[in-house]
Amino acid sequence: MTDKSKTQSKTKPPPTADNDDIGEETRLKLFKAQLECRHLEKRAYDLFLQNLIKGTSHLGLGQEAVAAGFGVSMRPDDYTFCTYRGHNHTLVRGVSMTGILGELMGRECGLMAGKGGSMHLTSVEHGAMGSYAIIGAHLPVAAGAAWSAQIRGTGQVATCFFGDGTTNIGAFHEALNLAAVWKLPVVFVCENNLYMEYTAIEDVTAVKFPAAGRAAAYGLDSIVIDGNDADEVYRAAVTAHAKARAGDGPSLIEALTYRHGGHSRADPAKYRPDGELEAWLARDPVPLYRQRLVDYGIDETVITAMEDETIAAVDEATEAAKASPRPSTDVTETEVWADGGSSWRN
């Protein structure tokens, strides 16, 4: 394990019904969200190996607790902005698995009829305002959505997920400064998975914590959490969302986590030191949370039923996506403009 992962190993007593600020219902939601992310993402990997998903894909296996903790804390009309590694963050808003797998497979049933692909999953009706594939771009965009909510007085909060690599690009700093100066209802969530792409973030960053270490520059608290512990993520999310909704401005949260695979499909992740993956697999958020539910007193049969149900849902979505036809090539010429068309001349 690296130094960073040691900092997140904490021994906490298991929660009990008497000593629980989260509650059974929310705990089950947190587990279900993580399970759905895990099994859908594993299926995406399998479909890649079967060549049913083309192009590239950036999987969030190992990082499910961050999406789950924030997703469960959100109001249905809140906004999510995420990156090309955005399948988890999109799914936790309640977006259909068939829509996601269909988009990954380039099918008519895809969320965007195949026009966006793996790196751009969006479902505006669920508040999933887009997955942005150029590092940093969506931080100012999330700030703008928060500005809009502030002006319209809706109480909506924008949550913006990004990776550790984003902290070294200009848009990160511009967005944080603007959000802080304008006290915008936006929560910036850095998933620090130790690697920007193929390079360790610590080798190219001036501070130990790439996001939290910069927070003071924008007058924000330095917050580092265990991103593999859905309870800790959820608590941080509730606090930050409440602060934003109260008009007290943005938060920047650095969640320490780990991606089980490489950066993208093309990356076997051979740059990782021996034993690092194994150490993090021992802190895999999904089995970790499963054990916590058992310790909490949830009946094993309830947990197993939830797992079976999730796998069945993923199977069903897979079959539905496979059965969906390729989109008509007619869609290539639609929806450039708000009138539905693409004409640039009369």
Partner: protein
């Protein structure tokens, strides 16, 4: 009709729309308390308040990114990028995000925003504050592009751009800010995608944009007086959508096309028009197409050097004379 400067017409167009629609907001560097570095937005902060007229830090990505996020969620932002050269600083957000988001999401979002920016040369500012970059924007699918040449057009096209449901880049020409012209007293809304025929002639059709329009008109008068060459002058006004109907009709009437472009030569907007004419009006042409542009060189700062590079009325006259010989 009232006489306004081009710069006052900018503020008048924005004010007309902010008055009408409270979802219209305006952000940019020095636009509020200072009234804009070109004084094109004087009075808007006082009239509409700091919630709707926001001074920003020098953060172009944050400006256009915030405008995008606001546009996706119910507002109609106007973002100022002070000099069009600075579009390069935030081009990712404009070209990769704003232009593509609606298409990639298969129409899940609309992005009704305006990015207005000071474009063009003539102020001796040198190569990084003088460029005409309308062709950058024209090259990106998903952006509408307008470049008005008169106070009435800047007001009317501003209003049309703000009301349009798609992203519009409004290139205001810095050399025109002080120009005066008649502007309607009543609500004034123009139509995107429409060119204007400003002068009718029988021999040649000169197609120009922004600050090249008054130069083309002056050249046309001189050609008429000294050479007996009678020119039609078309102000393109809108590059995307492009009013090919008007341009084709006027080229067919005279049989000759001359474009006058301030952008550097390669892939300037006139190249697209020349290509369209060659493809679709070839048999109506009586002679070669002529493109008059700034050379494919960064702009120099000294007055005589800059004047030598940007097309002038004298150069338009000379080039057309040479083409006639």
């Amino acid at each position: 009709m009232a006489e306004l400067t081009y710069r006052d017409a900018v503020a008048a167009g924005i004010a007309q729309e902010m008055e009408r629609d409270e979802s219209v907001v305006f952000l940019g560097e020095d636009i509020g308390a200072a009234g804009g570095v070109f004084k094109a937005t004087v009075g808007l902060l006082e009239r509409f308040g700091p919630d709707r007229v926001r001074d920003t830090p020098i953060s172009e990505q944050a400006i256009v990114g915030a405008a995008m996020g606001a546009a996706m969620t119910g507002l109609r932002p106007i973002a100022e990028i002070m000099f069009s050269d600075f579009l390069a600083v935030c081009w990712d957000i404009i070209a990769n995000q704003i232009a593509k988001q609606r298409y990639m999401t298969n129409g899940q979002v609309t992005i009704p925003l305006v990015i207005r920016t000071g474009n063009g040369g003539g102020a001796r500012f040198g190569a990084q504050h003088s460029q005409s970059v309308e062709n950058w924007a024209m090259a990106v699918p998903g952006l509408k592009v307008v470049a008005p040449s008169t106070p009435a057009d800047v007001m009317g096209l501003m209003a049309a751009a703000i009301r349009d449901p798609d992203p519009v880049i409004m290139f205001e020409h810095k050399a025109l800010y002080a120009v005066k012209g008649e502007v309607p007293d009543t609500e004034h809304v123009d139509t995107l995608g429409t060119a204007k025929v400003l002068r009718k002639g029988g021999d040649v059709t000169i197609v120009a944009l922004a600050a090249m329009v008054p130069k083309a008109l002056a050249a046309a008068e001189q050609l008429q007086a000294e050479d007996g060459i009678s020119a039609t002058v078309v102000d393109v006004r809108s590059l995307v959508p492009l009013d090919t109907e008007t341009i084709f009709r006027e080229v067919k009437n005279t049989g000759r096309l001359v474009t006058v472009e301030e952008n550097p030569r390669l892939c300037g907007w006139g190249a697209e028009i020349a290509s369209l004419i060659a493809e679709e009006c070839f048999y109506d042409l009586d002679g070669p197409i002529l493109r008059i542009t700034t050379p494919h060189i960064p702009l120099a700062a000294a007055d005589n050097l800059e004047d030598h590079m940007i097309p002038s009325a004298a150069r338009i006259v000379e080039d057309i004379r040479n083409a006639w010989d």
